[in-house]
């Protein structure tokens, strides 16, 4: 585990009280942040007849997970297929946005060109449109274009969510890089593209990691677009989780199990990107 201690913290020797305070505050926040997740785990393990009449002591069972994963007969909800759909759509959307967005962010940061501010704001402004506002016309358009209930259709509509985030957040990171580094690369004979790939891009790795993770999560959790613009083929995991909830009883245990299963891919992604988020800029060579 990399040391997470910043070079900037002023560590006074004998700051024992401060250490305790910091640990305590950290624990306090995480207690707030983690308790509901802990509770979801508990709920997912409760049998239906103990859902509302017990708190911490009950007879745990994996039945909910079995039902959700389709191991206990047909639940009417093809959750595993929805899970795969979500994977394809979210990964596809983020990859596409990164490919398109990183150069764009770089350009906005590096070049001052006419209309750049307006263009930048316009890209952001696509996120302003309330989803419900565009959903009915989009539904019809998608039907006519044959994009309804397809991966491509969903990946495309997710760009509204992911591109503004990627462009805007990465622009900050690129702006923080001094141009001198790239200039020296250029003087050394590298082309602009090579300068970018060898110098600029690696230095903003933490930013790329953070923004890839965040936009993946927003795409993964999006609810309204998959609800309306998909049918049985490309339906996603969030709608699937909710489908378990109703019908005869409030099946919170099923929904909790489904939501926890659905949280696994973002979690895996987060954990594997951790090292990029942890490490700061190496070599300290960035700013003079």
């Amino acid at each position: 585990m990399e040391s997470t201690k910043a070079p900037t913290s002023n560590e006074r020797p004998g700051g024992g009280l401060r250490e305790v305070a910091i640990n305590l505050l950290t624990i306090l926040y995480f207690a707030f942040a983690l308790f509901p997740v802990f509770w979801m785990i508990i709920v997912s393990l409760k049998p239906s007849n103990e859902l509302f009449s017990t708190y911490f002591f009950f007879h745990p069972t994996f039945d909910s997970y079995r039902t959700v994963l389709g191991l206990a007969g047909d639940s009417g909800v093809p959750f595993v297929r929805f899970f795969m759909n979500s994977l394809v759509i979210s990964i596809g959307a983020v990859l596409l946005s990164l490919i398109i967005g990183i150069p764009a962010a770089y350009a906005f940061a590096r070049f001052h060109f006419r209309g750049s501010k307006d263009l930048l704001f316009t890209i952001l402004s696509f996120r302003f449109a309330p989803e419900l506002m565009v959903i009915i016309p989009l539904y019809v358009i998608y039907q006519k274009l044959g994009l309804f209930d397809t991966y491509i259709g969903m990946i495309w509509v997710m760009q509204l969510v992911t591109i503004p985030m990627i462009v805007w957040i990465l622009r900050s990171y690129f702006q923080d890089l001094t141009p001198e580094l790239e200039q020296s690369a250029l003087l050394d004979g590298y082309t602009r593209i090579q300068a970018f790939m060898r110098v600029a891009a690696p230095l903003v790795r933490p930013g790329i990691a953070a923004v890839a993770l965040l936009s993946f999560i927003f795409a993964w959790n999006n609810f309204v677009f998959p609800l309306i613009l998909t049918s049985s083929n490309a339906q996603t995991v969030t709608v699937g989780s909710l489908t378990f909830l109703g019908g005869n009883r409030p099946n919170y245990n099923l929904t909790a199990a489904a939501a926890l299963v659905a949280a696994v891919p973002p979690l895996i992604l987060a954990l594997s990107i951790q090292r990029y988020l942890v490490r700061g800029l190496s070599f300290g060579a960035v700013k003079g």
Partner: protein, 486 residues
């Protein structure tokens, strides 16, 4: 604008201005497209002729009835995640074998089901051929022509199998899905907008343990019920008297509340001439609503304003509520083995009568409707008649959870009665006591959801302590303009 005399010129000018405005905003070279052309191109002002249908209409079906008439077709259903859906899914292979039709289905969460249905139907597309709906929704989807009129299909002997027996379905239920689109006009005439599939009446379910102790079934008037509820709240620790819905939704008004309201002879709207007059601000109505709010305040669920049927019914099952005044099937689900803490302890009775002894009961009926823009109407009709036919409904009543039968023959079926009386005693007794007076108690009108949701919000304000008279009078004056096309 100087052309007052000529409405057509005015409209043309108005359209011209809107088009220019729109184009200026978009800034595309879309100058060639007129506003009307754009709308037609995307068909979004969806109406009955907007979709692309090429299939047969009811009148086109001739010859002998044949289940295999549409062999090889595929249809698509939109369904809600519900035990009735599960029962249908269990028998879809029987249907496919019988007809040769492949059935694709989308199952959506209950919370968002009608959102999806509204978008799908309003777009004028024929994506879904048939779907689940409730009666109130037909008042919304019917007038714009999104629902196929099923009367010609039912009456066409070439299209409907000879054993269908339409009259076997309870008359009140058949009428619930039938309306002529005139505000305030009685249900039961006009187009048949959907076929009843499985319904729910609203009665009082109670926990047997407190039922015996406090004499729940002796409560013959609302005041009796309130005092029993109060006794339970005071006498039982960890339990309150009666659960009802209270969330800001039309669903709060329609079960227990509307049932008791109607038993008092109160009306949501009365018709005077051409207009609908709101009836919830009369002095009797105000008195009733005050009492209802007070009952919930003092002997009802804490956090009542967020109570949907989930919270209300699960409180009964958990032993937190002594009684539940809501859909009978909600408590049936709690009473199934392994469903809840109190499973097996739940009993039913019709609830208090009105001052005149009325047992008027409101109902909810899940029904199957057909998309007016479908291109596979005959195949869809085969599915609908199968799903609402004697065979399947009887199977559903005996083997699955379709326990409020829409058909008289099923309700009187021996095996069904045996099964229910054994597992859920008093359920069928109660059902039979109210069935003759069970009907849609609301006045049909297109702004049903508008009116009822505002009513629920107003009721919440009364619950929280606002003066019932002023709240309801405000509501009534707002609704007056709202429902009469204001």
């Amino acid at each position: 604008m100087g052309h007052e005399g000529n409405p057509f010129v005015e409209k043309a000018i108005a359209r011209e201005i809107s088009r220019r405005q729109f184009l200026k905003n978009v800034g595309f070279g879309a100058a060639a497209l007129s506003g009307a052309q754009l709308l037609a191109a995307c068909g979004t002002f969806g109406n009955a002729s907007g979709g692309s249908k090429s299939g047969a209409e009811a009148g086109d079906i001739t010859g002998k009835f044949d289940w295999k008439r549409e062999d090889g077709t595929t249809i698509k259903l939109l369904l809600n995640k519900h035990p009735y859906t599960d029962a249908l899914l269990d028998r879809l292979d029987v249907f496919s074998k019988l007809t040769g039709i492949t059935v694709e289905r989308d199952i959506f969460p209950e919370e968002n089901y009608f959102d999806k249905l509204t978008v799908a139907l309003s777009s004028g597309q024929g994506t879904y051929d048939a779907f689940m709906t409730g009666a109130y929704q037909t008042w919304q989807y019917g007038p714009p022509g999104w629902l196929e009129d099923l009367t010609p299909w039912i009456e066409n002997e070439s299209a409907t199998n000879p054993e269908y027996d339409w009259e076997d379905i309870y008359p009140n239920l058949r009428a619930a899905d039938q309306w002529n689109f005139e505000a305030g006009s009685e249900l039961g005439s006009g187009k048949q907008l959907a076929i009843p599939w499985g319904f729910e009446s609203n009665v009082v379910a109670y926990n047997k343990k407190v039922g015996d102790k406090y004499g729940v079934t002796e409560a013959k008037t609302l005041d009796d019920l309130v005092s029993v509820a109060q006794e339970i709240t005071d006498g039982e620790s960890g339990m309150y008297g009666i659960a009802t819905r209270g969330s800001r939704s039309w669903a709060t008004i329609h079960p227990g509340f509307m049932t008791m309201y109607s038993r008092y002879g109160l009306e949501d709207f009365t018709i005077s001439g051409d207009e609908l007059k709101p009836g919830m601000a009369t002095s009797e109505a105000i008195e009733f609503q005050d009492k209802w709010a007070q009952m919930n305040r003092e002997a009802g669920a804490p956090g009542w304003t967020s109570y949907t049927w989930y919270q209300a019914s699960s409180d009964l099952g958990a032993g937190k509520a002594g009684m539940l005044f809501d859909a009978d099937i909600a408590s049936y689900f709690q009473n199934q083995p392994g469903a809840s803490n109190e499973a097996g302890n739940i009993r039913w009775y019709p609830g208090p009568t009105g001052p005149d002894g009325s047992l008027a009961t409101n109902l909810w009926v899940w029904s199957l409707g057909m998309n007016a823009n479908s291109s596979k109407k005959m195949a869809a009709w085969l599915l609908i008649q199968y799903a609402t036919g004697k065979d399947h409904l009887r199977w559903g009543a005996v083997n699955a959870d379709m326990v409020d039968p829409v058909r008289k023959s099923v309700a009187e079926d021996g095996a069904f009665k045996d099964r229910l009386d054994k597992a859920h005693p008093t359920y069928l007794d109660t059902f039979n006591q109210v069935i003759d007076q069970t009907a849609i108690q609301f006045t049909p009108q297109e702004k049903f959801f508008d009116a009822t949701t505002s009513w629920a919000a107003a009721l919440q304000n009364v619950y929280r302590g606002d003066d019932a008279k002023s709240v309801m009078e405000d509501l009534a004056s707002n609704l007056q303009s709202e429902v009469n096309g204001g």
